[in-house]
């Protein structure tokens, strides 16, 4: 534990703030829904129906049993925030994992594959940049229907597909650029001269060099993905109700803002803090792994 805190010593205060926010968020997403639903459910047992169904009178003020009050349907706001965090983090991580896999693969092939393959791949990547992100996501969501039978993952399916498809090209471009310079460095040329295969070169010598940078970029990308997911949910085409999402919570709280403005504060605050924290941590990681980059 002291080593973990030692790592934070002497770091930018914004970075430390970001790390703390993310840890709290992660804990909230993992155990929050269980704790909260147990606290508010009449039987005292954790029951996920209280994320979807009313447990009290609508629009209760913050304080008391429901800590942050209840929403327009009488559901516990804190439980829904925690469940929303679960949705956001899940979408963020899955999309980033897919985008990283595709992006790295395309980036590597863009440098090492035969000319005609790399040519097609990189032109295709360029083509993807012709689309403004949200526009492409909107188009994809228009074509894919949620798979109700797959549970939570199924209802998130269109959003995950749409955001994965919009996220990989920038990673592919980054990886390709990095590899193109790395492959002429002495240690790579040396390994190649001593008979290493291309696969060995890429997996053992080149990609490990990129882990730090990719980790930093991932943080900022995840922030972008979470923001995009909330945007789509705010628009009503992302995560579908009754599944909670910060974006749709903001949208529904907005409808009653003249009488109950406080309800808006919580989802807005959580979402903004999350985005700030991911960006701060991403910037901190980048300056840690890439000393040349200056602010």
């Amino acid at each position: 534990m002291s080593r973990v805190f030692g790592m934070l010593k002497g770091k930018d205060p914004l970075y430390i703030f970001g790390v703390i926010v993310l840890v709290v968020l992660l804990l909230g997403a993992i155990i929050g829904p269980t704790l909260r639903t147990a606290a508010v459910h009449p039987s005292g047992q954790p029951s996920f129906t209280s994320i979807y169904d009313p447990v009290g009178t609508p629009h209760l003020d913050p304080g008391g049993k429901y800590i942050l009050g209840t929403d327009e349907q009488g559901r516990d706001v804190l439980a829904r925030l925690a469940a929303g965090a679960r949705v956001s983090i899940m979408v963020g991580l899955i999309v980033e994992a897919i985008a990283l896999s595709v992006g790295i693969l395309v980036g590597v092939l863009g440098v090492f594959a035969p000319k005609w393959i790399s040519m097609i791949l990189m032109r295709f990547t360029d083509g993807m940049f012709a689309f403004p992100d949200i526009l492409l996501a909107v188009l994809i969501i228009g074509t894919i229907k949620p798979r109700k039978e797959w549970g939570l993952l199924g209802s998130l399916f269109p959003v995950i597909v749409a955001l994965s498809i919009t996220a990989w090209p920038s990673i592919a471009r980054l990886v390709k650029g990095q590899i193109a310079t790395l492959k002429d460095r002495e240690f790579v040329v040396g390994a190649k001269a001593s008979g290493a295969s291309t696969f060995y070169l890429v997996t053992r010598h080149i990609l490990p060099q990129l882990i730090g940078l990719l980790l930093a970029v991932s943080m900022i990308d995840i922030a972008g993905t979470i923001l995009a997911e909330s945007t789509l949910s705010f628009l009503g085409i992302g995560v579908q109700p009754p599944e909670p999402s910060w974006g749709s919570m903001i949208n529904s709280a907005r409808q009653d803002m003249s009488s109950h403005p406080v309800a808006l504060v919580w989802p807005c605050l959580t979402l903004s803090l999350t985005i700030f924290a991911l960006n701060f941590v991403g910037d901190g990681l980048r300056s840690h792994f890439d000393p040349k980059s200056t602010k």
């Binding site: 012709a130 689309f131 992100d133 909107v138 228009g142 945007t231 709280a253 003249s258």
Partner: protein
């Protein structure tokens, strides 16, 4: 001659991007749930009617010829009819909704450029001083705060507490139109303003460091003239690219604000169309917005070497 070649290459790339976007849009239509002929025919249509509609839409052709047909129609501004309500031609829907979205995006980019260049220049001139630090902090907030978080905050302050601005668009409008645009345009411009501020600052700091500035100082050019005529004029050129790409993103950024303020623009129309699986409207909206985005980037790429001789020289 090199310039002409570079411009031609850019045009070719622009045309290819358009082709790519149109193909993706077409494929999306192919995968969309529901059969257009059945939807258009209505529930009571006989099999023969549906067959007839299918034939009229060209749905009985193989997909490559359908794509050529789709492209041909799109080039002539024909996107078919909406699946819902009155089967209104999509062309009319576009003509009705695009002006509002364009107006909003244009006003936002003008506002953002003015704010961004002014604050960016101030931050660069007072580098590392209080003004610079506060502008940088503000721009970080501007880049990271989501639009739809700004919406309720500003609506609460200006519409509910102060009661100075209308909350949403009404039909008919009860106040001059400009009042309905103030909040959405301001919010829409927040992010590009922050980006332009940062870029102007960086570019201006670079420029102020160059030798011709030192020469100008040594020759006794007055400070105001030095900063504006010598430094800012040079610093602003790379900023133009960002203004161009930002404008493209503003077109899609207006989706959120049109929805939030119930404005009858292209964005809110496309979102509604998605919820109703009204594919022709979605396709047309995406295609038109994408085309505008490509066109703007093209314009910037062609304009920049004409404005900046340094780029003209370095062009391939």
């Amino acid at each position: 001659m090199r310039l002409v070649k570079a411009i031609l290459l850019r045009l070719l790339f622009g045309a290819l991007s358009l082709l790519f976007i149109s193909f993706v849009t077409f494929v999306a239509g192919e995968f969309a749930p529901g059969d257009p002929a059945t939807i258009l025919g209505g529930e009571k249509a006989s099999l023969a009617t549906i067959q007839q509609i299918r034939h009229n839409l060209g749905l009985d052709m193989p997909w490559p010829s359908r794509y050529v047909r789709f492209l041909d129609h799109a080039l002539h501004g024909d996107f078919g009819v909406s699946y819902y309500s009155t089967h209104e031609p999509v062309r009319d829907i576009l003509a009705r909704t695009i002006p509002l979205t364009l107006k909003m995006a244009t006003e936002a980019i003008i506002l953002a450029s003015a704010i961004g260049i002014l604050f960016g220049a101030i931050a660069a001139i007072y580098q590392r001083k209080f003004a610079d630090k506060s502008i940088l902090t503000l721009s970080t907030l501007g880049v990271t705060t989501p639009n739809f978080v700004l919406v309720p905050i500003l609506v609460y302050i200006f519409c509910l507490r102060m009661d100075r601005l209308p909350i949403t668009w009404t039909n008919p409008l009860v106040a001059p139109e400009i009042f309905y645009f103030i909040l959405p345009v301001t919010i829409l411009s927040a992010r590009p303003a922050a980006l332009i501020t940062r870029l102007t600052r960086a570019s201006m700091i670079d420029t102020l460091d160059q030798e011709f500035i030192r020469t100008a100082v040594a020759k006794g050019v007055p400070r105001g003239r030095l900063l504006i005529r010598h430094a800012l004029r040079n610093a602003i050129l790379p900023v133009i690219t960002t203004i161009g790409t930002s404008f493209g993103f503003l077109l899609t950024g207006s989706f959120v604000l049109e929805r939030a303020f119930l404005m009858p623009g292209l964005g809110s129309t496309v979102i509604e169309a998605i919820q109703q699986i009204d594919m022709p409207v979605v396709q047309a909206g995406v295609l038109v917005t994408g085309a505008m985005f490509i066109f703007l980037n093209l314009l910037v790429d062609i304009l920049l070497p004409i404005l900046d001789p340094r780029i003209r020289e370095s062009q391939v």
